[in-house]
């Protein structure tokens, strides 16, 4: 049964005061660490981490309310089981967008309705904390986006999947100029990859993250001295570069990169310390057959 309800009253948005509670916190608990960082010009290095202290959970008293204003955030707790609340919630969200963004830029949206010309294709994790529009400010029309577990790119040889369908469309039809693979801290998918055991149990998650098993092998080799958390962090970055290498297995991508019509970038968002690292694949300097490593250039780090 489908029960449509159209929302077309443009200026009726009202923000509800909300209480912040955390009834379903996931069990993953990374420890708080301070991170002195050394950046080298061409090679990706492990972050040195010193385990300073473990932050005890102190999240404020449950049920304290926070009024919404334009600068502060709102998170709604789902205390009631009444589905109409959800409808109202989503309606308010859309109306807020319509009033503050859509109606404020009519010409831009009129143009966008006809055609999209994004300059970026972004591959990011489905994690609720790392939306590329929020953290990198992509506006409507700017970034064609794929989101999956652990921002992975399978190889050309692995056969049709949703990732390569999107790559085919964005590179060949939309002709984007940049592909950006964004990884992030505390990634559940990478953690599952690193903790995976060969115990005969199958799950979708295991089947999927196996696409990055080379990243796990490299991490275990390079970072065996680190604890499990440290290895996971290392693997998050290795996996990004592994995805960049996998991008080059697509002949039409490789061709465009060679002709310098397409640039491939990696990015890493650390939401514990709020920093962002970005680097670009240096195709000319990369000798994959020689040492299996990519060369990178234009590495930047903002914090």
């Amino acid at each position: 049964m489908a029960i449509p309800s159209s929302i077309s009253d443009p200026f009726a948005s009202k923000f509800l005061p909300s209480s912040i509670s955390d009834p379903f916190a996931s069990s993953y608990q990374p420890s708080r660490i301070s991170v002195p960082v050394k950046i080298e010009q061409t090679q990706l290095t492990t972050l040195r981490r010193s385990h300073c202290s473990t932050l005890k959970a102190s999240m404020g008293s449950p049920g304290f309310t926070q009024q919404l204003n334009n600068n502060k955030l709102e998170t709604l707790a789902d205390v009631k089981d009444d589905r109409d609340d959800i409808f109202n919630d989503l309606k308010d969200r859309f109306l807020s967008f319509k009033k503050n963004v859509y109606m404020a830029n009519p010409e831009q949206f009129e143009n966008l309705a006809k055609v999209q010309v994004p300059k970026f294709m972004v591959i990011a994790c489905a994690d609720s904390r790392v939306c590329p529009s929020s953290i990198l400010g992509f506006q409507p029309g700017e970034a064609f986006t794929i989101r999956n577990i652990a921002n992975l790119v399978p190889t050309f040889e692995s056969g049709p999947s949703e990732v390569n369908a999107a790559l085919e469309f964005s590179v060949n039809t939309l002709q984007v100029e940049n592909i950006l693979v964004i990884g992030h801290s505390c990634c559940g998918g990478i953690r599952a990859l690193m903790g995976m055991e060969d115990d005969g149990n199958t799950s979708f998650i295991k089947s999927w993250v196996t696409n990055a098993k080379n990243a796990r092998v490299k991490t275990k080799a390079a970072a065996s001295n680190l604890d499990f958390d440290g290895q996971c962090s290392h693997c998050e970055k290795v996996s990004i570069n592994h995805s960049l290498v996998n991008l080059l297995t697509y002949p039409w991508i490789k061709e465009k990169v060679e002709k310098e019509e397409l640039s491939i970038h990696g990015g890493y968002y650390d939401f514990v310390n709020c920093s962002f690292e970005k680097w670009t694949l240096d195709y000319r300097g990369t000798k994959l057959e020689e040492n299996g490593r990519i060369a990178i250039k234009n590495k930047v780090f903002w914090y």
Partner: protein, 266 residues
């Protein structure tokens, strides 16, 4: 967001001109150049690194730094109430159109916001997201959002009848939506192509919702009333959003009695 920062910049420029009146001519020339450039047919080439820097800086100062408690909590774990399937189309980011803040929605984006049926051999990518969202994150709502002018749906509707060369991967993916196409061709035969595509964009959302139900953990959570399936449709031509629920309904049974000596009774 862009409007606020340019207003700030204009204020700064005004202040500068008040202090240093000799800059007036230079500033006039530069502003006139800028206006012409912005009005031009093609936007000036962007430096991707600069765009990302600006975006991240805005986020850090205006969002992250202003909400330390929230981000401290998010650094430890996420507990989104929503899982959202949306199209990869650059115009339909759920965070933008539904104002989802970090931590609120676990978002999967692919061509034409398709959810394939449960299949352990193929489609482990989508399967992994559903598995994770339900078993680890325990989301309460799954929302599948379709949209107007969807290129993936258009391809589904036009190929292979238009005789075009098949793509390597795209056709294989969008054909998951075939049941929606079949329904639309049957029910809306005779409508023009664009209208049929619109119907298919909506029908494909329903097809995805049906497919979602084939995942055993989805079915279990629905039975336990812990999970709701919602369909959405973002029409950016008209600036509208449609929202509906997907429900299975069990009607009351009717009783059919056995034959008696008097014959059949109703």
């Amino acid at each position: 967001m862009a409007i606020q920062s340019s207003q700030l910049a204009i204020e700064q420029l005004k202040n500068l001109l008040r202090e240093k009146e000799e800059l007036n001519e230079v500033v006039t020339t530069k502003i006139e150049e800028l206006i012409v450039e912005l009005q031009g047919c093609h936007p000036h080439p962007i430096d991707p690194a600069q765009q990302i820097i600006d975006g991240f800086t805005y986020f850090k100062f205006n969002n992250f730094d202003k909400n330390p408690e929230l981000y401290e909590r998010l650094a430890k774990g996420q507990s989104p109430k929503f899982m959202v399937f949306a199209c990869s189309d650059s115009r339909v980011s759920p965070s933008v159109i539904l104002n989802f803040q970090p931590g609120e929605a676990f978002v999967v984006r692919n061509i034409a916001n398709i959810v394939p049926a449960f299949n352990q051999l193929r489609y482990s990518g989508v399967g992994a997201t559903i598995e994770y969202a339900i078993t680890a994150l325990k989301v309460k709502n799954i929302l599948v959002i379709g949209h107007s002018r969807c290129g993936g749906i258009s391809r589904l509707m036009s190929h292979p009848e238009d005789g075009s060369i098949p793509f390597d991967f795209i056709d294989d993916w969008v054909k998951i939506g075939l049941p929606a196409k079949t329904n639309v061709m049957k029910e809306y035969e005779g409508y023009d192509f664009k209208e049929q595509c619109n119907f298919c964009e909506l029908e494909s959302v329903n097809n995805s919702l049906v497919n979602l139900h084939t995942y055993p953990y989805v079915d279990r959570e629905i039975r336990n009333k812990n999970l709701a399936l919602l369909g959405g449709y973002y029409d950016f031509v008209n600036g509208e959003f449609k929202l509906w629920k997907y429900m299975s309904v069990v009607t009351k049974p009717i009783t059919i009695p056995l034959k008696t000596n008097e014959g059949f009774k109703l």
